[in-house]
Symmetry: C3
């Protein structure tokens, strides 16, 4: 087995089978059913339709479509890397989910010596999966499946720890995951691609181009992400009016950013034409920007403005920032995740902080202490008992003021950026190890390296080159 | 900026940004949360899982898929206009939704000086969106995005007024929107295309053709519409058995029209071959024809027959009526919306009237007055109190007889046709204004006009022409 | 009309219209609404949101996507048979559903002289539909639509009888349909293809190949099946924790089999490259293998192992068994249904039997007698009354021991194989009748036979042949 060979024949099975053995042993030792999935705990008090399953499964199903079909199609935009985009997405997603069930399980669903499994864990695992897939966007086409699996293997524990620390100790408001999902994934991915820097790619690569069909397929991915993004942003909010608002805001933010993307795309192109890359990516910016404040009473108009702002940041990032990052800072961000997840995540975090500072009992009533649970009075505080008469389910909080909460949000933001960027760089170092089947520069963005391709594989290419030659 | 230029660089951003300013100001002044999305109104009586959100969101999500992916793929059937079909659908849909939330909000969800927003408004806005997208079908490939947005801008207020007048004053039964959605959208679209008549297109246009891939993509759109149509037809019925029947009838009607479409397609083609255009369109006829009576006790067999009848009408319309409309009446109906939405809508309206006339208390029991709410006894009528003992939630109606109700249905049908046709023609006049980037005849059905296209864009075309030449 | 003509002009309409007349008469005479869809039965006790519709519709909608889009795209993998795969799937599915509503209705939903229709019947009909579509996989590209409809016409009654006999008399545990759906469909399909044996196809067929786009489309189908498979396997389980477990197991089983498929695909190919055919098919094996025990307390680790085992069986089947079946046993299984549904179904059945034998009250508590309803004490047994105090809804069973139940499972398995294989062969004999528009060997796998194809139809083919010639 040559050091630089891209042959997967031994490497990929070895990695997968080894992981499977570890995973199945850990599952056997540590994973059991949650009370709502455990036959033993059913009794004459059980009402089957009140099983938590029915509250979570519809959101889980929607997020499944986003992860497997939305991301899968979106990443298939390269002319010669459609298999890679769609199929490595599939591989990485299924691998990540198995692993995240364990890691997140240890941190969040572990008691009585066991991880307790329900659909709620699966939703969390799909969020972890979204993190890895976003990071994957930075190195799309430049990594082997072996490298991608190792990236997932390393990213998930770091994500699990960060998530646990932020949720348990900093205790922030971030219903849509702007900080924990988008910011983490973005800076991790940038860290990886920074280390995997390939100077020659800055001079252009013949295979970095789309085809008519790949552009259409990628837009389909965008549409699936768009359609189910409200479910993504609302899956883990409080039930009831909080979840309701999360859906409304996401929908409004997305539709505002979509029409803005069309305006900017035609305005910033030389000949006034719309670019498909913008339609595929920039339209989605609003879904991220509303994330951190998505369940709050920010007003529909604010969601609209957030959508527009996110779109501007994302579009200007693609146009002016990405080239600088690639040329000057050796950050080759293939899908522009810094624009779609980083810049928008920052805006979202800021908006979340503003929304926290502006939240009053006048607007929220006593449920202020539900949405901002950490500002609820602590256990034993007489004010808590008063509030519990108004909202019986209210849990004790930490008695934080809004300003304190804002500081914790800031801490979470910068902490997450630091941890993910450093973690990403270290992961990048690991991915540079030999024997990981990393493709050479010429082999990038090319399905032929890792797939048996059909005979018409580069026909379209040959044809369009012939035509170009004829035209010249 | 030349009068006839198709350059979008100034026009599209100007229109979008101006609209956004207006929309965001109106949202800020007038749009607030519905009680079910308002944190302030939660108290110790609130049961979160009884939030109206949970009743409506699953249907909303299904309709989202229809609007963005179903319509988007279906409209991408032209060989060189896949971007236009799929992407302008995306643009128009997101624009329309924002606008419809305001317009329908003023007419239907306005009280205490505010529009109250919930997922229910979003469902209504998506229906408004379906109206614009159906009308779009008549002018597909012949209009610029600027024209399409202006069409939406004008169509939505007219639709909003019509919907409000029909629902408030005529008070008709039309659960699946056969009259308000399909008929309105169809005649509006025909009015627009009548005014935008392009004589040269009647002689055939080289770009009016499909490719193997575009045909497959378009069928996928059909399949998504097919699969979620039951949700569309049942989203706004009464909950419970009414919604249950709506799903059963839609499903049966659609499956009946689908197999009929295959039979007719092979029967009416010269060589007995199936046409993909028929598979893409005619299969869906049954979904429209069951619309007006979809929640009534019409019997499964009647839903079946309606599906078959709708399919016949639609197929014969494509075969024999559309050419006449284009050649003789200067109505160039690009996607044949008159067949799929007009003729079927008429059949559906008639079927609805029959179902109303045939409805008896023997079949429906007291819930007759729920399904046919306007035939319920008016406030103060002693019969109302009797009925309310049987069905506590029953609301007072207008005490109409079935025949009276039938007349109102007829009035609504003809009123809608008249208003939409005239409105469409006036809109067409506006769309003929200069500076709207309208493509010339040769530029029709061509993505290159409004999009940066990949280098393989017309390869397939070149190739198939080469092949044709070789064969000759 | 020539005996061997493939012209559909008379044959297809004749068959469809005749079926429609029969179906509509039977619907009119025998099909009425279920109590939950019947307006007459609503009274002041009715709570609309407790209508069974709301428990079943979300699962129905998911399965719809699988049947129409999942199967449709998956079957479109041939380069020149995309229309056939996707569109005949559509035709066969809609036809089958109508027919299955009647047949299954007579066996399962018939009382008071009528078939009572609800969404539950539709779910059952879609399962019947899955059966026909799986069998279709064995003869894909080698049959006319007329033959396919006749196959459905014959397969559904046989399936209906088998299902009824097994559920009513043998009363087995098979929540995911491993025996009744996958095994039945597989051996029926193999029976058909055995009789329709075409020796010349064993020497290779020029049109048996994929294209870059068809491979991508087919993977999309796989992804849709993958995403909604948990709904498929859990749609007909008990509500509550049983359904919850079914989703967890399916998800875990699928993700285990997916990563295993990637490992095996690269390991078993000469150059270590991943084969798209494996990604399209073998990844799904885990969904079948967990089927028969999907609602039981088998533990998450066991679901994982089942997924891996299913994947091994399926992959080795494709690699080593399918060629033997085709060459030696004249079983030309076009999509390899014996690997994806047969071998995995056998493993699943065995796993189900083990799970039954290992089930104890210690693990399940009293709800053992719910999940394994036939082991519940029979009517009149004092133990039943004790159990009913713990679980009030518990129904009387047959008082079977676990071993007895295991024997019934074995009987069901072998009975199903025998019935379906013989039924498939007899159906094959019928399909050999003249006048059914069966394509000749050269016409196989070719859309041009039954569809009007666009002018670029075989461009890709021409091109890749040109290229091949150039390279030689």
């Amino acid at each position: 087995m040559k050091k630089n060979s891209t042959n997967l024949r031994l490497r990929l099975p070895a990695l997968i089978f080894a992981s499977e053995v570890v995973i199945v042993v850990l599952y056997a030792c540590f994973v059991t059913y949650d009370d709502h999935a455990n036959a033993l705990l059913q009794n004459n008090q059980t009402r089957h339709m009140e099983n938590s399953f029915y509250q979570n499964y519809p959101f889980f199903a929607d997020i499944q479509v986003m992860i497997f079909i939305g991301f899968g199609c979106l990443l298939a935009f390269f002319r010669r890397y459609g298999f890679g985009g769609m199929v490595f997405n599939f591989l990485v997603a299924t691998f990540t989910i198995q692993w995240a069930i364990l890691i997140q399980g240890f941190f969040q669903f572990f008691y009585d010596g066991k991880i307790h499994l329900s659909v709620l864990n699966l939703i969390n695992a799909e969020f972890a999966c979204a993190v890895v897939l976003i990071s994957f966007g930075a190195v799309l086409g430049k990594t082997s499946p072996v490298q991608l699996l190792i990236m997932a293997l390393l990213e998930i524990p770091l994500f699990g720890v960060t998530e646990w620390a932020v949720l348990k100790y900093l205790r922030i408001n971030d219903a849509g995951g702007s900080i924990l999902i988008h910011i983490f994934a973005c800076y991790f991915g940038l860290g990886v691609t920074f280390v995997l820097y390939r100077p020659s790619l800055n001079e252009g690569h013949p295979k970095v181009s789309t085809s008519y069909q790949s552009d259409l397929l990628s837009v389909m991915g965008t549409l699936f992400l768009w359609v189910f993004w409200p479910s993504f942003n609302s899956a883990l909010t409080f039930k009831g009016d909080d979840q309701h608002r999360a859906v409304l805001h996401t929908f409004i933010g997305l539709s505002a950013s979509t029409i803005t993307a069309f305006a900017l795309s035609s305005m910033l192109s030389k000949n006034g034409k719309i670019s498909m890359a913008d339609v595929q990516n920039v339209t989605l910016a609003g879904g991220v920007t509303v994330g951190a404040s998505v369940d709050m009473m920010i007003s529909p108009a604010a969601a609209y403005v957030l959508g527009v702002m996110g779109c501007f940041a994302c579009m200007l990032g693609y146009k002016y920032l990405s080239p600088v990052l690639a040329q000057k800072l050796r950050i080759q961000d293939q899908c522009g995740i810094h624009n779609l997840h980083g810049l928008t995540g920052l805006i979202s975090s800021l908006a979340g902080i503003c929304a926290i500072l502006l939240a009053t009992e006048e607007t929220y009533g006593p449920s202020l202490y539900e949405t901002f649970s950490h500002q609820a009075p602590p256990e034993g505080d007489p004010q808590l008992m008063e509030l519990q008469q108004l909202i019986p389910d209210l849990e004790a909080g930490l008695g934080r003021s809004a300003k304190e909460q804002a500081l914790f949000q800031v801490a979470a933001l910068f902490g997450t950026i630091a941890v993910s960027a450093v973690g990403g760089m270290l992961t990048g170092v690991v991915l540079k190890l030999p024997f990981l089947a990393s493709p050479s520069d010429e082999q990038c963005f090319d399905d032929e390296v890792f797939f048996t391709v059909p005979s018409d594989y580069d026909c379209v290419n040959v044809l369009s080159e012939t035509r170009k030659a004829e035209n010249e």
